[in-house]
Subunit: 376 residues, 2 copies
């Protein structure tokens, strides 16, 4: 294997695939990045037990040469060394495989020799022929993930709840996450011939979002029984799926309410954020909401150790009963409110011990449900 | 105590004095900030076992009112809560002490009540009448600290070496740090009537630099036997001094050399930085320097596990013997070189097992000495 490459291109690609490389692996080869040079392109791959990231650099993209392959072949090299080293080397790099899987990298008057591994030993993802595929804008997919994944269960008692549940159903593509105390769901209307669902582990989605960065192009989803591939024209991202049956969450969202209020979203978020300061884990992050004569909303919180906070905010509108007092987890509330981009929100109450539904006032694809906590 | 204050002023001051507050103290009162309102000013104090930081806000500074004191008095409040809370409150704040050392903070429609402590219980720094004082530009003092303090000893076997040694000697003010393998010293020429020396703990200097931030005004040093005070028109910073006799370091710097070379500083730093990648702790961070026919300098490093790096750099000038090979700690070298702001540096060698002197070519107040390590 031998190729010449622009330092910046290689550095970016190595940094991207490194997101799948775990520094604390017991198998040395898994701490490496696979470089495979083919006619006209160089493919980099990073992998761990959960995800695989692949980036391809072409020798000619819109007249600009990213890489010049002089000799095909492949090798695996330590991700950590590659990452640090390439940043510190000036100018173009000549990369060559020598004897005993050694790799030499030359840049101006600098010669580096790295110990490598035989590429044949690098684990291979055996993704069978995809059973289904769908294309959608990267920004929509990122939104569907970002606005739900924080609600996954943080303990592994029910593995299916540690992932985000995606459902295709002819007219929509929907993402849902719940830890059984709260639920976040985002429904994107599309025309698709697909029907089916799958669960993606939350850590994989987190890495996927980092890799997406500011990428705004289209993403193709390809599904097999055990794996999903998200691919763009820049990278491919593979994750295993979580096996098992996701609970029926659609039936959880109530459609009859005792009281529905609307509020300014940003003021309410600021108020909850302040009150949450005093709502430690010792009292379930309790923040209390109380309707004051149907015209104002009182927000308060108390910490035995530190103090209390009380504030009064205006309500834009109220429908239904004017009496209400409810305690909610302040951390859950702030996370839910951060998922809403709208200026005005609607909060629907069914009683002080029933889940609260939070939505934006305008017709929105996003819904959030929070179960109240017992007030002390 | 009762005062009205602009949120931004209080937030900045609380953040400044918080630098002296340790979150992990067993004495609850030490996790607090003391607020003392006097006629025309509010003084905030944060303190731990090592340092004290004080900030004064005046009711009238150049026509602008920072604080309006309605009632004098004092109280101690949790630093963590104050910090987080003030950032989240809008507009001006009315701060009042109530019963049982409670503090209420009002901002628009928000009322916060915090549990406080009796200010009398807050530890007091008993700084006796200063024995000596000197005024110098903040930027010079910051430079004297920054360019030496990284060389202090990281283990406490010899406590005096864990601090930076400052010496006043009529015509100069000098700072020195050494861990006995390397030494950094900075000599600032001044006219002073002072003669004497003192040792300041490195962690205190580190906090002092953070507090200085971008402050460029004058700093007054005031000394007693056990304490130093650095004061500006914005804050006062107190630290205990390290007792004991600092070794005579001036005699360590050699003045006869076998070989003296000059080099481009930034290229050399980049080369050492690259080579240090392969110079792990297993081999004393060894980076090898070799003169090549008196014209070039070879920089190399080898890691048994990962690989090797070799590069060749130009020398600007050479005086003395043309043969030399020496191994130095790459981390020490990069730290020393980062202390030099000049474009060209001078490296003076006395032999492969003798300390190396690094200076800038132009007449500079900064000198760095590094003992070689044994090459394997």
């Amino acid at each position: 294997m031998e190729f010449t490459i622009n330092k910046e291109y290689l550095s970016q690609a190595v940094s991207d695939v490194s997101k799948a490389v775990s520094a604390r692996t017991t198998l040395p080869i898994l701490s490496g990045i696979k470089m495979a040079a083919d006619h006209g392109r160089l493919t980099l791959t990073g992998s761990n037990a959960e995800i695989v990231i692949e980036r391809v650099l072409y020798s000619n993209v819109q007249g600009e040469s990213m890489v010049a392959v002089h000799k095909t072949g492949s090798i695996v090299v330590s991700a950590k060394y590659l990452n640090d080293l390439i940043k510190k080397l000036p100018g173009d790099l000549l990369v060559k495989v020598g004897e005993n899987h050694s790799v030499s990298i030359q840049s101006e008057d600098i010669v580096v020799s790295l110990k490598g591994f035989h590429a044949g030993e690098f684990p291979r993802l055996t993704m069978s022929q995809p059973e289904a595929s769908h294309k959608l804008p990267g920004t929509v997919l990122a939104d569907m993930i970002k606005r739900t994944m924080f609600a996954v269960s943080k303990n592994g008692a029910r593995p299916v709840l540690t992932g985000v549940h995606f459902v295709f159903d002819q007219n929509f593509f929907c993402s849902t996450a719940t830890d059984s105390l709260r639920l976040a769901t985002y429904k994107h209307n599309i025309g698709t011939s697909l029907i089916g669902s799958f669960i993606v582990p939350q850590p994989a989605l987190n890495e996927f979002l980092k890799l997406m960065g500011s990428y705004t192009g289209e993403v193709t989803l390809k599904l097999t029984e055990s794996y999903i591939e998200f691919s763009t024209d820049v990278f491919s991202f593979y994750s295993r799926l979580i096996a098992g049956k996701y609970p029926n969450t659609a039936s959880l969202i109530p459609n009859e309410f005792k009281t529905v209020i609307t509020l300014q979203a940003s003021d309410f978020l600021k108020g909850i954020d302040r009150a949450a300061l005093f709502a430690g884990e010792w009292n379930n992050n309790n923040v209390n909401l109380t309707l004051l004569e149907g015209k104002k909303l009182g927000i308060s919180s108390r910490s035995m150790e530190s103090g209390t906070i009380h504030e009064i905010q205006n309500i834009n509108s109220l429908e239904g009963e004017e009496e209400l007092s409810i305690s909610l987890d302040g951390k859950f509330l702030t996370e839910a409110l951060r998922g809403i981009k709208d200026e005005e929100i609607k909060i629907s109450f069914s009683g002080s011990m029933k889940p609260v539904l939070i939505e934006s006032v305008s017709d929105s694809p996003y819904q959030h449900l929070i179960s109240p906590v017992r007030a002390y």
